[in-house]
């Protein structure tokens, strides 16, 4: 009678994802991989992972129209070291307002075509309300204080888009982001 070989259990459970660990906050030209960002966030909070009841993901996409113009593509640029600090600051702020929520935030730079994702935000929390709110807060704050710019190339020309004057210490802007997040 043949005896089946025993399968030895690995000392460590197998990792679900291989390859280099990706950071929670990043900015660069690579396409956004939301599954890997979510996995990085889950790993970073492994001890608390069982307590989470919600993951909310936001992807900002390049839209084919803006202010009556037909958009062909966008070119993003950033002051990258300051952008990373801004993302970390946004996560800290969200953590102050929703202490059980944790987030990851990646932004792309370079030429992005219609339908491509320019920004990805993933939030985990025990409660969906906190995850949704922190996610909305984070994208509002990106638009307020992240040193990132988009140049829009449309049918007939191009234009730099200029939104908010970035001032991370502006309490009114922060309060407005919280208000929108909780609306």
């Amino acid at each position: 009678m043949a005896i089946a070989p025993r399968l030895t259990r690995a000392a460590q459970p197998p990792r679900r994802y291989t390859g280099p660990v990706i950071p929670l906050f990043a900015i660069g030209p690579s396409p956004l991989e939301v599954d890997r960002i979510a996995a990085a966030l889950a790993d970073a909070a492994a001890a608390a992972a069982g307590e989470d009841g919600a993951v909310v993901t936001f992807l900002g996409l390049v839209r084919n129209h803006n202010m009556g113009r037909r958009v062909r593509y966008l070119e993003y640029e950033a002051y990258e070291p300051l952008a990373l600090k801004a993302f970390e600051r946004i996560a800290r702020e969200a953590g102050e307002r929703w202490p059980d929520a944790r987030l990851a935030l990646h932004h792309r730079v370079g030429r992005l075509h219609v339908g491509e994702a320019s920004v990805a935000i993933v939030v985990r929390s025990p409660h969906r309300a906190h995850a949704y709110a922190a996610c909305r807060y984070a994208i509002e704050r990106v638009k307020q204080i992240a040193p990132v710019w988009k140049r829009e190339f449309f049918d007939g020309g191009d234009v730099w888009i200029e939104g908010a004057t970035a001032n991370p210490d502006d309490a009114r802007a922060r309060a407005e982001a919280e208000r929108v997040a909780c609306a």
Partner: protein, 81 residues
Amino acid sequence: MRVTVRLFARLRDIAGASELSRDTAPGATIGEIWRDLAREFPELAGYERSISTAVNADYARMDRVVSEGDEVAFLPPVSGG
């Protein structure tokens, strides 16, 4: 005293360079460096009220005194996301 000036988006287009090296007097503020630049590139002047500024990749106010070798960044209104 030498500092590196970084310009982004439309400010970079106006100046025709993303990075400039500039001599300043010791004790110069970010605001003084900006006003020198705006004299050199008059189209920049319209941005005085809407720019943000940073030193060595941290947000800083216009009255901040810069030091030898600092990287001073001028940022037009942002439009990420």
